[in-house]
Symmetry: C3
Subunit: 258 residues, 3 copies
């Protein structure tokens, strides 16, 4: 039984496997949902698939990025195969999905990114996505925006410096002078998935900085409004509702300062 | 090996499987716990199983609802088979468990509910629970309570309206004019699992509204006190302790207003 | 197929299995990471493995305790086999790992501890770690520190008493008069994993009490600074950043009171 066990285990954690098996295993079918909660299947078809995903104000591509970010942020690997494939079908490039996983390692933790790697590996294999379609490990970085970065660095130095020099060091060197400057995911998209992750995990205290950065990077207020509705379904109403006062405050302060 | 792989995978993610295999696979035995942490097994038997679950003030049926809600809220599928079965044994009806899963989709996120569906599907199959015992997808709804709903709608319109019209729309149409009015789970029980989910996920900012609603729906103060103790074991002490000041404030304001 | 299903399932959820299979199944290889996100593999090797883990100020043994606590706190079982083995290799004793799992049951929830049991069981079996190397279920407890305990008991009685007598009872009897006095994990180490769990789960409101207790128990300010950097990688930057103001406040108040 050892050989069987080894096979079963390596498979059950999504080592390279045929498409059908991954598909079969990692999705709960509409029939399954009907057999347990007929109302949930109705809400899924009528409200979520039939309405939310089709709303104007946020593209299906952006809704896919938001949904993928919410799943990685909450380490929900079972739903990933479906939504990773949907993201690729909706126009998220393999390079962008790759960068999303790397970005999420910093904003939701290394283990969350590793869980996403296990799923993406199979989907890239099933779709014949090879190294030529992936970002370089160390590409030429985009230029840094000096004014905003100076303000950020000063703030982190003053607030975090007295508490953890290591945290200050890595925040500067790895995140803002490397990760955020990588060219294969637009700053606006990095901000979109970062804000999504913060809302999906209830990290309200970090939203103000990153939502302002997101809007500086081009995320519009109508898009952000739709992000809240999308995240409500995938991370639960309480996380969306807890984000509302902070988002409202950012919207108001930015319109006042115009 | 593809056939084996497919079988292993579809099984390991709880596609229809025999009772024995699900039971065996998804529980950590007392012997396992003793072999790793003898003290944990002692606390489990003496304190949790032998004392907490038998405390007066909250019925075993309600403790099961609370525990199931905490597991779904935290997406802990491994513990679900045991506690879903225990809930049914303790008097939670299949229709109530079905509605609990649907309710949790909105309050803890769609993927959490889908994880619960995968487990409930097997248990319903093993117990021969068919469509006749499940709620209708679109039953006749209970009448809405106009005064409280008007206050809620006004508050959401004022606070959420400027931030996300979509969130306002779905909160009204799907949650308070549909989900909460479904007849197969009592409003008091919907409130019980909602408050449990908020505490289990540390969503303190949402407790005041839902605890007041819960007590309006018939949840008593002694029952709520026991919910906190039950959740402490299943979601950890810090989540229970972080909820205490808010629960205390609600208790005090309600007794003062009498 | 029942036999196969049973085998696959019991294996895929880590019932006793051969070393190789667990190892193979539960780790995402460096090659896997490169095939999806080359940059993530670079950050892992250069920054995390090559730099963070080698920083002075916190020993590899303590970093292992912190990482194990973060994984259990977030219920990330897939990463546990690697980091449980690394912890044992870095000098965490089997008894200390056993006590860590028991301690986490109270501070992160019973299901989290049970998930860790399923992994530790296999690793203890693979390394021939038997009952003789584990803590007693009910050993002679260390003496309680009367002054601090009196202050804690009074505070809990006043703040939690009016809300949940059950929570007051178990907090005293099980946590502070039993768990914390168990001799097989030093109070300083219990504090280290407790503070880590609070940061990893964003439970900021509970940090002040436990960080002061940790420093009373011997955790130094430089060590705590490194804990924040370590947790940032394993639980995500936002959780570390949200903890910073509270940690800063504790540091300042303690140095002022000297």
């Amino acid at each position: 039984m050892n050989e069987l066990a080894a096979a079963a285990l390596s498979v059950s954690l999504a080592a390279a496997t045929p498409v059908e098996s991954v598909t079969k295993a990692r999705t709960v079918s509409a029939e399954d949902v009907r057999s347990v909660a007929p109302a949930l299947e109705r809400y899924t078809q009528e409200a979520l698939v039939g309405d939310v995903w089709k709303r104007p104000g946020l593209s299906a591509r952006d809704r896919s990025l938001v949904t993928v970010a919410a799943l990685i942020a909450r380490n929900q690997t079972v739903g990933m195969p479906h939504y990773f494939r949907l993201a690729l079908d909706n126009g998220v490039t393999p390079a962008e999905l790759s960068e999303t996983i790397t970005h999420m390692a910093f904003y939701t933790g290394w283990p969350n990114a590793m869980g996403a790697v296990g799923v993406a590996r199979d989907i890239f294999a099933e779709r014949g996505i090879g190294p030529d379609q992936l970002p370089k490990a160390a590409p030429e970085l985009m230029p840094i925006e000096p004014v905003g970065e100076a303000a950020r660095a000063t703030s982190v130095h003053q607030n975090v410096g007295p508490v953890s020099e290591g945290l200050v060091k890595y925040t500067g060197e790895l995140l803002f002078h490397d990760l955020w400057l990588r060219p294969d995911l637009a700053p606006r998209d990095r901000s979109l998935i970062t804000v999504t992750a913060l809302i999906a995990n209830g990290q309200v205290a970090q939203i103000t900085f990153h939502l302002n950065r997101a809007m500086d990077n081009g995320l519009t207020q109508p898009q952000m409004s739709e992000v809240l509705a999308q995240v409500a379904f995938y991370a639960g109403w309480p996380n969306a509702m807890s984000a509302v006062p902070v988002v409202k405050d950012v919207f108001e302060k930015r319109s006042a300062s115009k």
